[in-house]
Symmetry: C3
Subunit: 348 residues, 3 copies
Amino acid sequence: MPIRLSELAGRLGLELRGTDKTVLGVNTLEKAGPDEIAFLAGPKHVHLLASTRAGAVLLEEKHAPAAACALVSANVRLDWARVVALFAEPQGSLRGVHSLAFVHDDAQIHETATVYPFAFIGPRSVIGPGCTVFPGCYVGEDCVLAENCTLYPNVVLMAGTRLGRNVIIHPGTSIGADGYGYVQGAAGHVKVPQIGRVEIADDVEIGANSAVDRAALDATRIGAGAKIDNLVQIGHNVQIGPYCLLVSQVGIAGSTIVGAGVVMGGQAGVADNLVIGDRAILAPKAGVGRDVPAGTAVGGAPFMDYNIYRRAGLALPKLPELLHRVRRLEKEIASLKGTAAEEESQDA
Amino acid sequence: MPIRLSELAGRLGLELRGTDKTVLGVNTLEKAGPDEIAFLAGPKHVHLLASTRAGAVLLEEKHAPAAACALVSANVRLDWARVVALFAEPQGSLRGVHSLAFVHDDAQIHETATVYPFAFIGPRSVIGPGCTVFPGCYVGEDCVLAENCTLYPNVVLMAGTRLGRNVIIHPGTSIGADGYGYVQGAAGHVKVPQIGRVEIADDVEIGANSAVDRAALDATRIGAGAKIDNLVQIGHNVQIGPYCLLVSQVGIAGSTIVGAGVVMGGQAGVADNLVIGDRAILAPKAGVGRDVPAGTAVGGAPFMDYNIYRRAGLALPKLPELLHRVRRLEKEIASLKGTAAEEESQDA
Amino acid sequence: MPIRLSELAGRLGLELRGTDKTVLGVNTLEKAGPDEIAFLAGPKHVHLLASTRAGAVLLEEKHAPAAACALVSANVRLDWARVVALFAEPQGSLRGVHSLAFVHDDAQIHETATVYPFAFIGPRSVIGPGCTVFPGCYVGEDCVLAENCTLYPNVVLMAGTRLGRNVIIHPGTSIGADGYGYVQGAAGHVKVPQIGRVEIADDVEIGANSAVDRAALDATRIGAGAKIDNLVQIGHNVQIGPYCLLVSQVGIAGSTIVGAGVVMGGQAGVADNLVIGDRAILAPKAGVGRDVPAGTAVGGAPFMDYNIYRRAGLALPKLPELLHRVRRLEKEIASLKGTAAEEESQDA
């Protein structure tokens, strides 16, 4: 989409310093051409301003003088997201319900929704306005996609899944598969039938090949605005608060309650039936087996306060040598006690 | 399915204490209505008995007096699984082989099996009685689904995969992809062709987006009654014993032999060519690089005895301070030795 | 494929010692029959040579006398890969573009390529000579599969993905989904549109249910000959060098640069914006939060030199006892100091 810099600046509330021109897209400082906008992420890239061929650079006030053509922003990262959004084209190439899709007679597809070939929409499911269901998706019975939701290819929604508005789910993710629930019986593990559902609130985005299990009873819930990365596991009956950030390969076991705005680093794991307080931060690879209080940062497995974790991490490589040092101290003490004992006996 | 409490109690061998009535389903103590059954999971929820609106509560003898209408059980968790099973409806909405499925001319589909649209059944594969193959599943050449198996959407069985009876595989799981086998050649890694298969015994359940690789030669095997969670990795030639429980995000590398009844907590990892003895327990996130004897519980990475692991976990945060303490001790010892040396020289 | 041992030996440059015969396949030493070839992986299996029924055994010179019929090799593992390749049959049963595939009018499918039922090929995508696209695959807009690539079932290539020659991608893997990029806005996390792509060089193999995210701008790249296992996460803008080996469940966060020939063990994790030097080795479960220099081996989380990591791993179980020992030393020192102080006062 070609756009004049002046128009773009006007729309986004930026200040243009330099010659107005038409631009066609965005790129990195290194690769942008004269018809592309780039951005200055931080001070360590300032030297690139001298050599960039970019038609304009989005940057902070203080770096503007170094750019031939500047778009000045008080919040570069946020405004960059808005600039890119102007040029980003949605994926996909079709519109409407394709003849090679399977849509059950009892399903409702809004007239503005798109259903690709090889997508399956089950009975009593509702695909709301502006929703897109890519090829290979399965939407089971009684699901709801409220509005403007995108299911990328091969996403699976098992029966009863409900999505709010603007929910995005990336390829291969499974929503609503049975939770992992068994009871020891006389002859092996007996399955506890999982009859709950998954409810996902507005503005949630879930990455590729993740899994969110349906509840045993009631619902597994993902709160509004939560952003979940690839290959993440959310167990049955888990409750994820609004605005949480769960990075790739995180795993959260059944019935754990995660507060609002919690951040979990990659490969962190949380055991079942715990409470993770609002705004808690779990470092990558943290292993959490007890409740985490609100507002605290933790790391390690078993987890500890984050600052202690960092210090323990620095100390751990010294442990083998520490063992030697303690052994030496013990000998020296024994020797000193021997001396002392000798002296005492001499004194006596 | 509406059922009288008296009939349900009779069928499952429970004792009904309270007024008989018709119930329609199950729910939690908090949410159940008068036509639903709830259950009392443990003593910490006893206070809910006073306020629950549930039509009946499944519970232990000792808590029965506190419930308006009780279903008394000697094994609440097991009986709850059986109660829920009475009301659980299977997922899915179609029957028979759909015209939009691809079934190879040389495949055999039992007349009681269901094959959904967009499922693919390859040559010489056999889909046995009562099996269901959901949309987007791929069943390659020479596969066998013995009886009453369920492949949820987008499950992939590569060539030669054999499933026993009552096997359930959740969405997106890959069975029989090539194992990770390469040899260093003159010009990069040379692939060792993987020509074995996967054999899965009766009553196995595998979660969503997991991966079980085919053997290099012979077979990767999952023993009867094993229950495998989401996002689990099973490498080529691994042998999983019967009744194992592998929790989400566990990874087991090639050719490792896992005994019967082994339990692995979430995100545990096991290296290749090891033997994990019967009934061993791996704590979540355990990292196993040596054999684990039968009947032992281990944790940590590298792993250690579970009780030591717990104590080491409590001790680790004290390590930075311990370094300081030892440094202080060393100084004090040096000072004492100095004193002692001085004394000795004075003595001399 | 039946083949005479003499012909096979001639083709692969092996020496046949024993009676020539026709063989039909390969198997393990334990299971091979008279018309199958087995191989001797290492000295610990030499005892099996006495009992094997194999028609011939591939082995090192020094073990040849113990085999009834030997194929002598200077590099058994590499030659075994070549022997197996002679007998390995490719998966799949169809040829050509199936009528139940969806191929966009603006896509180009080479006449020697195969596209299965329920595969989707988007506009302007190119499927090159000898490529195979299995059922349930999605190839979005503007993708390129250069030559002889295999997409196993349910692989997803989002818009703009480019594959070189001989690329193999196993079931369920997602290439080119949006990277995990958000900016804090006034009302929650604002998505940074991801408009880059993924480029995968020649001879790359990627396992099942992995995820490689598209770049925010520019491209996420996987270098030639890299071999990536199942359930691996590669974040946006990551650059993977040639000939890397990334074992199952590894995770690499955004914009990290991985050099040539790097090996990462299972479940290792690497944070964002780091540089991992050529030929570095990460032990399984390593947690990497700083750059790793070329040629070094590291382990642990936080990571340390591999040899120190091994020693620290052996030392950690002794930590609880070490705390006791230090406490005892402190008491003894206090006691000695008391004695010393006493003596001093006596001396005084």
